[in-house]
Amino acid sequence: MSSKSIYDYVDHLPKGGLTVNALKSLDWVVPGQWQNVVGFENTIRAVTGETDEALIQQIGDRAVTLFNDKKEGYQRALWLYQTVDSASGALGAAALANKVGQDISFLGILKNLTPKPEKAQSIDLCVKLVVEIVAFCQINGIPGDSIGDFLASLKDYGGESLMRMAALVCFDGLIPLGPDFATKGLASIKSMTSSDLEHNQTFKGVRELIPGGNSAGQLGFITESFESTKGWMDNFVSSKGLTPDRVVDNLSKFVDISKDKLDYLGAFLDMYVKYYEHTGIQTLAHRLIERSVAEI
């Protein structure tokens, strides 16, 4: 899957740009949880708090070794994070291929954007959520001795992982589907056939790693996962007072957008804000370094 080193990925994370700005606009949702730490050595220092060069060398070497062993699951997690982002925006990006290299502004490309139908948007949301669960298991295993332990470790989400979930709720839920996105998403996925799922671009991208055996089983798994996390999402929205308006207001401080074109905004974010890959690489590096410093 991957022949690039983990330090290559982490060293090349952008310090600015659309994705980073869009994530910064969510700081009010999860205050102080996410700093855009980029660079492999920086990440080692930030995670461990260590400054000794020899120790940093040992930690980095161990992390590189663990990442390169495909059996350890890290490369699969990376592939999931990357693929779920690129697959969901692929159609739109193809239509805009001639814009590559030009400055991308929301209004500048508005006429090229097509809002995704609600059904496709709902599938995207569900598939991204499932990818989060599967990638979590690839990176962390199934920690603890029971399902309760597993759920406790999911609840302990913080930092870039919590930011990724905030972005999922805001950019793939609230903006394209509205305040009752979770209910809508669940209703939509429940009324879906496995053939609907098979035709969805985002699902196609990651289907080989989604549990369930065949697409009917996978649909079941997706529905179940969505159902069990819906409560968490609803609570997240109500406890933080999240509304599409507030999300868009804050986003407009960081990204040049127009507030009256919500449908198009969803399509725009889908294409240019690669928050799953960005924060996914950060999560992966974080957990890998955490393990490395403990193992050396």
Partner: protein
Amino acid sequence: MISARWRRVLIPVLLSLVLLVSACSQSEPSRFSQTQEETSKRNAPAAVAKGAEQGSTFNKFFPDSASGYEVVPAQEKNGFAEYKLNKGGKNVAVLSINDTVGNPSAATKFQNSTAKIGGYPTVEQGTTGTAVLVNNRYQVKVLSRDPSFTKEERASWIQKFNLRGLAKLPAATSSLPKAQSPKTAPALPGRLQPALNPT
């Protein structure tokens, strides 16, 4: 007008300039590039030795939540388990056990240790880590994640592990313990089995 003769001279000069500039602009190789090369080639040794204990074996030796501290499961990998230690919802330390089989430098650092915790040789690593080695093989480590969590607290939390229980697991031998079937991916509970395992 540049004469043909000048052009003949100019072109090689420009070419070598271009080469020089592009050579200089190439970034230095990473300090981790040697490890990258060694561990990414075909038939590179596994990151975790085949005979290593599964992370799940270690769960029962971790301390329980107590007196305002919450012990939360964080990672369970091949030869490794990790729990977070949280206080008031804030992560203050990380607790871990790992099997040093196949990762010998992790064990050899204890060789010159004279200090002991709970009867096991101990070392300090960097400014945030305290570790003991059980059975010459299992490393139990506590890492501070907040400056308020002191070296003394690390030592005290190491003693909260069931170190004697851990010592009942197979000790290090000159040859590796009998190989277990390799774990290709973390197993998912119940219906959470992956459809495929592409690697």
